[in-house]
């Protein structure tokens, strides 16, 4: 039963993950798992000091945990499912021996939880680092998704001759664009580490480290179903060995209620059938019956005031260290292009949970994880790598899938007006400006006619009209020179709004990102075109026409 629910949940998580792509329908919450995560919501709200609508979905998990107990870890958590699965595949024959000083290890997760929450209060969001849902989403985005695409394409390549022979034309031309991400190996190593820890003891991560589990175990003892061991118990300790959370105490009749994930494994393995999970409303009653099950034993008793103070100090120190770097005063001054609809940088860093969902959903793969570009506080936040790929004007998926709305979900029109930066021509590198070559790719590719040609020194040369450029980066990506682009998008002029309309803001600033004809007529004023080496063309030219300056490129001056 539990395996079934877990598998289903993992599949559901995977399905939602794969749906997070262009063209995601507006009604479909592809980020639902991340929204349901109370730790993410809580730390984003604490860090940003503002209520986030989507994070309120996590109240569902809070509510159900209050009634059922810590079922999330055993049944819903996709990371838990992956850990159980990999344990089953790799180490199922290994004896499950608990670690020494189990109780001390168990506390680690509470320390971590408090460190993260205190750091969040101090304005630095850190829980993304160890919260299982963003962790798994990042693994899916940076590793699994590219891998699956590679495998699918490999399979398609192998089958191509067969599809062709069968006349399955569309299938024989099927190919999926390969997504790639910076430093995926870091994510891989972290993930591999978590899985490998299970070798030491089953669900090592969930028992000792997971801060989300820690948060849930604070409220789970209030749940209705509680383990009860009858007098039949012969203390064979089978339940203690089988418990994946190590929640059964030395006296097998007692249980660490906060650790129990309602998996009922103990009841299954008990040879006497002595274990049941009756409903019981009151904690006091439960302790009466079981003499042991004190609600929130670890959270309130074992996790001492001293422990709390330590972790509070730790959280503040971390937040201090992470925030007091030159990156903080430099916010907005370095070359970093955020996705359209990103909150103002400080809010953005506090709200973004680094799940990588936006990067997964990005149609062109331009969204890439930041590493140290904006310091520790910016780790894994999305940036646009416009030399690599542009931002597609018909796509607005990144905001739709952002669970904390660090990237605001915008309509296409709003997104078009959410200017991310401005293209700047680097004349010393531009083929036209520096070498008098006939290049016009940036102009040709610009979807908003923000690049125009004007005659300077007898040559038509490109200019950027900043008020028409929303920083989509097509020019930067397509610039044909080697190395850095001769036209780059800089953050200058970006519009970052916490609320309100980007369209109105753009209008206020007299910006216009419209795919209208623009001033293409300028071409007629150019005079520098030469009919290179075309003798036939030249001999047909009358002297009068030769001096006629008005002629678009590609046309000849002959009658």
């Amino acid at each position: 039963m539990r395996t079934f629910v877990q598998t289903f949940s993992l599949l559901l998580f995977t399905t939602f993950f794969s749906l997070a792509t262009y063209k995601l329908p507006d009604w479909l919450p592809a980020d639902i798992y991340l929204r349901l995560d109370p730790l993410l919501g809580l730390s984003a709200i604490l860090a940003g000091k503002e209520i986030i609508g989507r994070a309120l979905w996590s109240l569902i998990i809070v509510g159900t945990t209050l009634t059922i107990g810590r079922f999330f870890c055993g049944y819903v958590c996709p990371m838990g499912a992956v850990i159980d699965l990999s344990h089953y595949l790799l180490w199922r024959r290994k004896k499950n021996s608990p670690l020494k000083s189990e109780a001390n290890f168990r506390k680690i997760k509470f320390f971590l939880l408090f460190i993260f929450l205190i750091a969040a209060l101090a304005g630095v969001s850190l829980s993304y680092f160890m919260d299982p849902l963003p962790l798994l989403t990042r693994f899916y985005t940076f590793i699994l998704y590219p891998l699956v695409i590679t495998l699918i394409n490999l399979f398609l390549d192998l089958m191509r001759p067969i599809f062709h022979a069968l006349g399955w034309i569309s299938l024989s031309h099927q190919h999926y664009s390969q997504p790639v991400y910076y430093l995926a190996i870091v994510t891989f190593l972290i993930f591999a580490g978590i899985v490998t820890l299970s070798r030491l003891t089953i669900r090592f991560w969930c028992r000792y480290l997971c801060p989300l589990g820690a948060l849930l175990s604070f409220i789970s003892p209030l749940g209705l179903w509680k383990r009860r061991v009858s007098q039949e118990c012969n203390e064979c300790l089978k339940c203690q060995k089988a418990c994946p959370m190590g929640a059964v105490e030395e006296n097998p009749k007692r249980i660490h209620l906060a650790e129990c994930i309602q998996c009922r494994t103990c009841a299954e393995v008990c040879p006497k059938g002595a274990i049941t999970f009756p409903t019981s409303f009151s904690l006091a009653k439960a302790s009466e019956h079981q003499t042991s099950a004190k609600g929130g034993e670890y959270s309130t008793v074992d996790f001492s005031r001293r422990g709390f103070l330590y972790s509070a100090a730790g959280g503040l120190t971390l937040a201090f260290l992470a925030d007091r770097t030159p990156f903080t005063p430099l916010k907005g001054k370095y070359q970093l292009i955020r996705p359209p609809g990103a909150l103002p940088e400080t809010d953005f860093l506090q709200t973004c949970i680094r799940c990588g969902e936006c990067m997964k959903s990005c149609l062109t793969n331009t969204l890439q994880p930041c590493l140290w570009e904006s310091g520790l506080t910016g780790l894994w936040t999305p940036k646009m790598d416009l030399r690599f790929a542009p931002c597609e004007q018909n796509c607005n998926v990144c905001g739709k899938v952002c669970p904390t709305q660090a990237l605001r979900s915008l309509s296409l029109e709003e997104k078009t007006n959410a200017k991310v930066g401005t293209a700047v021509l680097r004349k010393e590198m531009c083929l036209v400006w520096a070498q008098d070559k006939l290049c016009l790719i940036c102009d040709e590719i610009c979807p908003y006619n923000a690049i125009v040609f004007r005659t300077v020194e007898g040559y038509r040369r490109p200019f950027v009209i900043a008020s028409r450029c929303n920083g989509c980066g097509f020019c930067e990506q397509k610039c044909p020179i080697q190395g850095d682009s001769a036209i780059i998008v800089v953050p200058s002029g970006e519009i970052r709004l916490k609320e309100g309309s980007y369209l109105k803001e753009a209008q206020k600033l007299q910006l216009e990102f419209k795919p209208d004809p623009g001033d293409d007529k300028f071409i007629l004023e150019e005079s520098g075109f030469k009919v290179e080496g075309e003798q036939k063309g030249k001999e047909n030219l009358s002297p009068a026409e030769k001096t006629q300056p008005k002629k678009p490129k590609g046309f000849l001056l002959i009658p």
């Binding site: 031309h173 590609g554 000849l556």
Partner: protein, 308 residues
């Protein structure tokens, strides 16, 4: 050498197709419009009716497509923009020609283009995938991978020695070009001959390595559509090839076997950047004409003009 061999087969096929076409005309003098073979057929009217009429006057699609053949239709669907932008071929021109090919007994029809934008977006926004969705055996395919191309030699190439052409074009029996009438910032206009660049892999070299006009003529010596149907229902007269730009509505469909002649007529259907031009004034058309690839002067062409 192997590639060269295929090239010969292809050319042979073209010859026999032309011969077949000529024969079919000789045998069927009953059709009034077949009594005189036209170089160009120009029909005004809405895209569907005009395309149908143009095919009819050309002698029917069965002149070009035989039962059981594989047909590649090459529209311009390179940009993720809607039909009214004038960047892409009108979806209804594509469906009308595809239907006609099916009626003539074509086995499979592949509507293909190596799109400039993301294929899925271009196919979607151009409206071409949606329009062809309900027609059986018509496959709309956007290409963006080198593995779908095969290198061939360009025996008559002046600047191009070799070029990688879409395999499906080399392997199928019929290629029908369905360009749209639009301006192009590097080649003046982009119609049938410029549109051939949507069938080859390394097209950036056309822009940064070769003289694009010579390279286009070279390309036209190895990729020869049996029929070109130019969609001049709209003409993007400035801001091409990708727009945004001024869109005029000549409401014409121009069909012909000679790709240079079709393009040359296309140049005259609208003023470009506010100025009238002739085919001769478009450099790549002039070069192609000089290389013997087609007629460029309209006064030397037999043109059927009609309404649908």
């Amino acid at each position: 050498m192997k590639n060269f061999g295929r090239e010969i087969t292809r050319r042979d096929f073209l010859k026999s197709a032309a011969a077949g076409a000529a024969l079919s005309f000789a045998w069927k003098p009953v059709f009034s419009n077949a009594q005189e073979e036209y170089d160009l057929v120009v029909i005004s009217g809405d895209p569907v009716a005009a395309t149908r009429k143009a095919l009819e006057v050309m002698g029917g699609i069965s002149r070009f497509v035989k039962k059981g053949q594989r047909v590649v239709l090459k529209p311009n669907m390179s940009f993720a923009r809607p039909p009214e932008s004038g960047c892409n071929t009108h979806p209804q021109v594509v469906t009308t020609v595809a239907q006609a090919c099916l009626e003539a007994g074509a086995q499979q029809i592949m509507v293909m283009d190596y799109t400039l934008g993301r294929p899925e977006l271009c196919l979607e926004r151009s409206g071409i995938r949606q329009a062809c969705k309900s027609i059986k055996n018509v496959h709309v395919i956007g290409i963006e991978e080198k593995k779908f191309f095969r290198e061939i030699r360009v025996p008559q190439g002046k600047v191009l020695d070799r070029v990688e052409v879409l395999k499906e074009v080399l392997d199928s029996q019929v290629l029908i070009s369905l360009p749209v009438t639009k301006s192009h910032s590097a080649t003046g206009v982009s119609m049938g001959i410029k549109g051939l660049m949507g069938l080859i892999w390394n097209r950036t070299s056309f822009h940064d390595k070769y003289n694009i006009n010579q390279a286009l003529a070279d390309l036209a010596t190895v990729i020869k559509p049996q029929l070109t149907i130019l969609d001049a229902s709209r003409a993007l007269v400035s801001g091409g090839p990708g727009g945004p730009g001024e869109v005029q509505k000549p409401n014409l469909i121009i069909a012909g076997v000679d790709p240079v002649a079709v393009d040359s007529y296309g140049v005259t259907v609208a003023p470009w950047y506010g100025q009238n031009f002739k085919g001769r004034q478009v450099e790549h058309l002039l070069v192609a004409h000089q290389r013997g690839l087609g007629k460029i002067d309209l006064d030397q062409l037999r043109i059927f003009k009609g309404k649908a």
